[in-house]
Symmetry: C2
Subunit: 503 residues, 2 copies
């Protein structure tokens, strides 16, 4: 077999695996948007089957043999070549996949679908008891999954590594401790100042107008609706159903602006990343964003560094006022800008301000670590949640809706490995944005003029188009010239909130 | 291996095959409702893969061996037992499936998805040239498919047999000739009378109010929204995505009532059939309506024998007037009833009246037969269409939108085997309805009171719950006590239209 034949064979196999995963994504999107209640049981079975079929194909020993036969030639094309990256990343995926039995993949997927369905009803009903036994099983399954990857210092390391190659519990803890050291004094300084007034964000914000305004902004960002769409869901997400089909979902509140608007900008950030991956990588494991952390850096960059900035609103505030004359008449730009950047302890992570947000993440990271280590029983989770948020932020939820039932993650996947990426993403977002600003000295003026092309092109050039060709540390080094650092993030927060709160 | 083990093994395999087909249905539903244009290419590949995987599993020789080992025991349970029917129907499907190579299934599915996508753009653009080469390939693929089933008197017989077990070109032709003999004099008699005035059906019919009214009617019919939903599409259809998830789609025109309303009732008829199949048959080839013809008998029964009847509108006309006060104020029930039953030559099959409808079907049947036999070139189809509808109905489309591009069938599947079922369905609908009326002597009074439970229960008991356990001739015989006959259908048409047109 020639190298060309082997490569063609490998690509054909990978294309089918990718098609199975994208089909799974279609079923998942439908489950979270339009599926009637009666469809849940069969959908869980369908998802589990597709997940298992994808896994079975990925663990076919033929994949390993093809990789072996291609590797020397591929590596000779140079580290940056598509084919060298293809072999590198596929081998990592293959070796990971072969450690997990297909039956387990099937079982986990089926369990996840059931749990998600129950959580969808349990959260509005504030019924933690309904999900408790399922979450206990999820913890067991998560440990079982980690157990398939021996050789880590901490069992949880395996789960982090799946989302963020090379990250460890120890590394995350160090980073979090360092970051907390910078955040807590900032939060304290802000709390000593007068509280910002964000009452202008509550009022009459009809859903249709919110949808239209959000769409006009993300069209301007560069989200391409001919290759995507936007629907409503309980817990917003972005999903890639195929080349040319990258969708986002949003939720709206008729009585408030923030939830719908900022989740739209956030998911559009994820989506533009996926829409920006080089089409030449289609059908391979390289055809998506590289890690959850880098993905989150893009959602947060567009949501916060762009979407909560003063230059942005210098352009967009007039259209916003025109869209919501009832709620925003007489509210000045400065008042509005302070309102959307109000720093205050709050209960819901996705609605938290930029400064306190990371404390929400740290809370979840520590609680899930404790569940995995067995030092926290699932039954005690609601109380542990309340105690921790009280101690960290001085507030506590009156029920589990805004506590242990708040996030979809534990009810739509495994416990462990997801939350750290939100804070990693925040850190990277500032580092990327600082690098973009060095390359585009008039970036603020462009944003102030409603022009996002140069920024999106810079991000596409340095991040999006590469897909998974490079790891998160490689992308950070290449795009910014430096390794990951919390310095740009703390500098961004201190400058922005120093000005806002006159610190 | 005991019979119990073999049966469990068989059922597990069939469940996975069914799950693959339902997953395919989810992707198909999305393709026809919400998928952005950019998604088409990848979707075609995904659909083809799922289709091939389902086919590969269905043709696994293990299925044949399991059927052999179960058959004697299953048959001993009696013809009417679920397990005997399971073996009977699965063997038929297995033997059919094994004749077709998986590569062909894949190729056909991919071609179909591409063609559907091109047709979606070509129809509104009146661009037959865009689909012509694709349709030529479809004709070749349809012949190739028929060729996998030798031993029929006519190659087209194989394609009819896939949709309607045991039906042949000869049998359809005989039936159609007989029916035409009854229809043509009726149409001539009607055309000698004054034309009915249906201007009340055109006017201001806002989409939202159409949707709400249609929903209220089909909820009353018994369509269960907790196990289904309704969306918009270009060409309405019903699809079963799983137990508890049977969806319908509709299209609306803001300036006319008929299209949206009657397609809603029509698709709800299909959906109630699927919602009524016994849950005990889930995950097997028995878990759906038995043939296209019987399916169509149910959509047409609810659309026409119920939904275009005078008793029905005695109850529903007041709510309809209330929903569309602008368009229907001052229009009396009698005028409205005559309008929705106006008999007149027309161009669009799905909007044709009950009497001329079957001539549309016969036109398509003859044209596709000619394309398959090679006596009609695809390039000549538009002209042949115009000539035939002119000769049959005295009207002709000014362009191909309402001619050769009109129906999705040739562009969303094979050429051959689909259209005859519409007329078979019409014939059966009247035969079933007559039997239901014998069993429910006050059926008209119930319908006039807005009560549909007894009718739906009768249909569920005699047709729906059985799924595919029995063939169309078996179902007709069991439900009506007689073999298929055009007599009840002609009697229904002659009575109804005799009264309407005072013949």
């Amino acid at each position: 077999m020639t190298v060309e034949t082997a490569l063609a064979d490998l690509k054909q196999r990978l294309q089918a695996i990718d098609d199975l995963h994208r089909a799974e994504a279609v079923l998942g999107w439908d489950q979270a948007t339009y599926m009637p209640p009666g469809g849940a049981e069969a959908r869980g079975r369908q998802l589990a089957l597709l997940s298992r079929l994808g896994h079975e194909r990925m663990t076919d020993p033929a994949i390993g043999r093809l990789l072996d036969s291609i590797a020397p030639w591929a590596e000779a094309q140079g580290f940056d070549s598509d084919v060298a990256a293809l072999v590198r990343v596929t081998r990592r995926d293959y070796e990971r996949a072969t450690r997990v039995p297909s039956a387990f993949v099937h079982r986990l997927s089926e369990h996840t679908a059931t749990t998600y369905h129950v959580w969808e009803g349990a959260r509005p009903a504030n019924d933690f008891a309904a999900v408790r036994p399922l979450l206990e099983t999820t913890v067991l399954l998560s440990r079982e999954l980690a157990g398939f990857y021996p050789g880590y210092a901490h069992p949880y390391d395996a789960l982090i590594d799946l989302a963020e190659d090379g990250m460890t519990v120890q590394a995350v803890r160090t980073l979090f401790t360092e970051l907390r050291g910078g955040l807590v004094p900032l939060i304290e300084a802000i709390r000593a100042r007068e509280e910002a007034d964000d009452s202008c964000l509550t009022g009459d914000f009809p859903e249709g107008a919110q949808q239209a305004f959000g769409e006009s902004v993300i069209r301007a960002f560069g989200y391409d609706y001919t290759r995507g769409r936007q629907d409503k869901t309980a817990h917003p997400f972005m999903t890639k159903l195929g080349r040319g089909d990258v969708r986002i979902t949003t939720r709206y509140r008729d009585d408030g602006l923030s939830d719908g608007l900022f989740s739209t900008l956030h998911e559009a950030g994820h989506a533009m990343y996926e829409q920006g991956v080089d089409d030449a990588l289609e059908g391979t494991p390289l055809f998506r964003g590289t890690t959850s952390g880098v993905h989150e850096s893009q959602s947060r960059l567009w949501e916060n560094l762009v979407g909560r900035s003063l230059p942005f609103w210098r352009h967009w505030y007039a259209p916003l006022q025109a869209a919501f004359p009832g709620a925003l008449a007489g509210v000045g730009l400065d008042t509005f800008y302070r309102a959307i950047n109000k720093v205050a302890p709050s209960l819901v992570r996705t609605e938290a301000d930029e400064v306190t947000y990371n404390l929400h993440v740290m809370l979840r990271f520590d609680l899930e670590l404790a569940m995995l280590e067995g030092t926290l029983a699932v039954a005690d989770l609601p109380e542990a949640w309340r105690a921790r948020i009280q101690s960290d932020l001085g507030v506590a939820p009156s029920d589990d809706r805004d506590g242990a039932l708040q996030d979809v993650h534990w009810y739509g996947g495994i416990v462990g490995g997801a939350f750290q990426s939100y804070t990693l993403g925040n850190i990277m977002s500032a580092q990327f944005f600082a690098a973009a600003r060095r390359a585009l000295p008039d970036l603020d003026a462009q944003i102030g003029a409603g022009t996002f092309g140069p920024l999106r092109h810079w991000l596409t050039e340095h991040i999006y188009r590469h897909g998974r060709k490079f790891t998160a540390p490689e992308i950070v080094q290449r795009a910014t010239g430096e390794p990951l650092s919390i310095a740009p993030y703390l500098a961004y927060l201190n400058t922005k909130y120093g000005a806002l709160y006159r610190l």
